[in-house]
Every structure is written in C-alpha cells, then in structure tokens.
C-alpha cells in the first residue's frame, strides 16, 4: 500500500533536474523555497517539503506544520555569465564594472540570501547597485543569464551544469562560500505520512545520494 502512494513533493527550484530521477513516480512542484513554504502556510496539499536552506523548514517546524527537518544534501554558489560574455567578466571583482547587468534572487529566496552573504564576504556589497532584476527562484536567474539577457548571475553550481554550453562559470573562493544546506521535512497534513517518511529516509540512502552526487550536489558533512 505504501509503495503505491504517489507523493506530492514541493521542492526547491534547484532540485528540478535531479528529484524526478530520485523519485520518478512522485509529483513535483518546483519553485522558490520561500514560495513553497508560503503555500504550505496557506494550506497547500503536500506530502514533503524540500528546501534549499534549513531556515524555512525549521520555521514551519516551529509553527507545527511539518515534522522535524533533516539535512540531506549541500551545494555551493557560483557566478555565471553568458557564453559570449558581453560584459567581459572574468572574476567576481569585474562585477564592479559600470553598467554590468547583474541578476540575483530576491531577499527571502534562498539563493538571493546566499548571494548577499557571498558579496558581503567578498567585500562587494556595493555590487548590489548593479542588480537589474530580483528573481523569485534560482532557475529564473539561470534562464536570464543563459538567454544572454543578463550579464551575470549567482546560481548554485548544480544549476550551471544544466545549461552547459550556454554559460561560462566563475568560481567563488571557498572562504567566501555560505553554508548551503538543503533540508527536507514531512508535511504534517499529509495523507501519506508513512510513505512520506520513507521518502525522506530514502533521500539519505545510498541510491539517492549517488544520484545527487552525480548531479553535482555535495554530501552532508
């Protein structure tokens, strides 16, 4: 019975490519983790919530909406530019050039918050003045850079891998990286609690972890 339940999984946009491989039979709604959390607060029917940070599931846990969240994978940030690199950006410090069209996640969107941490760690807070658009999830940032409309954007390394050939990547030094941990939690209003708990457990299992690693995600420390 448990195995026949099709779960509704609300998952961070950065998991768009890998989650359907991990759980091919389940239904997914991908988006900015903060939007998904807002949907759960508004009573959206869902079984599992996988967030690109730990803060949002912890908040829902404190509000009694989800069970105890578990960290299941990690990620890193990277700067991407279109393949043609119209603004001639070769290091994060080139973002200081005048007229650079930078696209970032909005405040509250996990990738947007991480981006601000990175810029702060690099002493580049002023670069936020070059932002031309604040996006509601990481895939919107990715799309605008891959399309060539924006000059640069901060995404997860795993996102950059999905558009190889369209973007060039510029690494961010280890010491400036924020802690990017993904947490997953079972939604308490789920009608498939047992299957949902099994899914969360399976995410930590060898098969799922191998698929996450193959997609470029990092193992839990």
């Amino acid at each position: 019975m448990i195995s026949s339940a099709v779960l509704t999984i609300l998952a961070a946009a950065s998991l768009t490519n890998v989650f359907p491989q991990v759980a091919p039979k389940d239904r997914f709604s991908f988006g900015g983790s903060n939007m998904l959390a807002a949907q759960i607060q508004q009573g959206a029917p869902a079984d599992v919530f996988a967030s690109a940070n730990t803060k949002l599931p912890e908040q829902l846990y404190e509000q009694g909406l989800v069970e105890k969240p578990v960290v299941f994978t990690r990620n890193e940030l990277i700067l991407i530019v279109p393949k043609k690199n119209p603004a001639d950006i070769h290091s994060v410090y080139d973002l200081r050039k005048p007229g650079v069209k930078l696209v970032v996640g909005a405040v509250g969107v996990p990738v947007g918050d991480y981006t601000r941490v990175v810029l702060h760690n690099l002493g580049l807070d002023d670069v936020l003045n070059s932002v031309v658009s604040q996006e509601t999830d990481v895939r919107e940032v990715l799309a605008k850079v891959a399309l060539g409309e924006a000059d640069a954007g901060f995404v997860y390394t795993t996102d950059a891998r999905t558009v190889r050939g369209k973007v060039a990547t510029i690494g961010i030094r280890w010491s400036a990286q924020p802690i990017v941990e993904y947490a997953v939690a079972v939604v308490k209003s789920s009608h498939h609690l047992a299957a949902s708990r099994a899914f969360v457990k399976s995410l930590l299992g060898r098969t799922a972890q191998a698929k996450l690693r193959a997609a470029g995600f990092l193992p839990v420390r």
Partner: protein, 257 residues
Amino acid sequence: MIRRAAVWAAALVALAFLALPIVAIFARLSLTRLSTSVVSDALVVSLKTTFAAQALVLAFGTPAAYVLATHRFRGRSLVVTLVELPIVLPPAVAGIGLLAAFGRVGLLHTGLPFTQAAVIVAVAFVSGPLYARQAIAAFEGVDETMVAASRTLGASRAKTFFRVVLPLAGGGLGAGEALAFARGMGEFGATIMFAGSLQGVTQTLPLAVYQEFDVDFHTALALGALLVGVSAGLLITVKWLASSSTSALRFAASSSV
C-alpha cells in the same frame, strides 16, 4: 415562478462568486502595510508605466484603428486578426515574444530588458489590442453621411476628423481605453519575463503582490487592495467620462457588445 427563482438563484451565486475574493482582500486588510516602501514604489512604477503605455496606445492605436476602419484593402482581415492576436495570447507567450524581438539577443538587439521602458512596452503590447479592436468598431460605427456633410460644408479632412469623427466615436474609444487601462494595470506575465522585477524600477503592483506573497502575506493583501482600488477608480472614471458626453452615449451603447 420556480423557473424565475432558479434564474435569480443562479445570478446570486455568480455575483457572490465574483465578489467574494474582492471582499476577502478587504476583510483581511491591514492598512499599516500600505506605508511600506515596497507598496509605494510599486504604486509609482505602476502608475508611471501604465500612463506612458496608454499614451502610446492612444497615439498610435487611434490612427491605426481609423485607417483599418475606413479603408478596404487586400489582406485587411489578416491585419485585423494580427492586431487582435495579442488579446488571446497567453501573457507568458507575449513575454517570450518580446524577448525574442527586442531582447539583447533578439531580432532587434535592443537593450530594453530590465528597464522601465520594457515595462511600458510589455503593457502596451498586451493592452493596446483591446483598445484598437474597440476603436475599429467605434470608427466603423460613425455615420458616413455626417462625415460627407462636414466635408461638403468645407471642413478639411483633419477638421472633420477632430470635430465630427472623434466626438461620434468617443464613447467607443473611451470604453476601449478603459479596458486597455485595466488590463495594463494588471499586466504580469509579459512584464516579469521581459522586464524582470526590481523594486522602484520595474516592479509593478502585480509583480510586488507575487513577490510579497512569499515574504509577507499581509503586504501582498495590501497591494492587492490598492490594485483593486486604483483599477476600480479608473474604470469608473473612464466609464463616467464616456457616458457623460451625450453624443458618445449611443455609440457606447451600440459598440459595447
């Protein structure tokens, strides 16, 4: 009698269904949220871009509609269909189309995306056809004998247009512009794809509602209430203007299908 009661009941259900979401927005509204910078910035961006877009729609749409209404040529119905097409296009398709045409890597290689001008272009693209379609109908409804009489009495083409044709078509034009204005204020999909979303620059009221839904539901509600208020106020004003000019009245009646 029973049949009549059923009709009334159905009408009441329809009314309640349409009114309830609006009532709910105001019922849960906390006015203090209206004073945040997100709200005031979005209001300013929305008003600026909507008025600019509607000025363009009127300036270019009126002559275009007049030409299409008064001339018969081969391929006219194809042109009219093209003008009307954006009305039925999903906004996301409009956004992709605008990027493909005016994006930096689009056909025309413009630097429009992410600028306030991009918002104006998106709003004009989705709302203009609503005005143009109504304007074509309004101009077609103008009594040709009145135009001929004006011309035989010695009035120039231009004078005839401004003194005879425009007042006669005014009601229809006003109704069309009211629709275009309301559609423009509510524009979302094409804008977020083509212009992005940045507070104070390209973030209009609908875009701010979308962003604030993730951040603070009550601010989203306040923005929604503002949008309802502004749209309703403008709609009522334009309708009142259209119906208060007596010559326009019968055309407003005949052209509102």
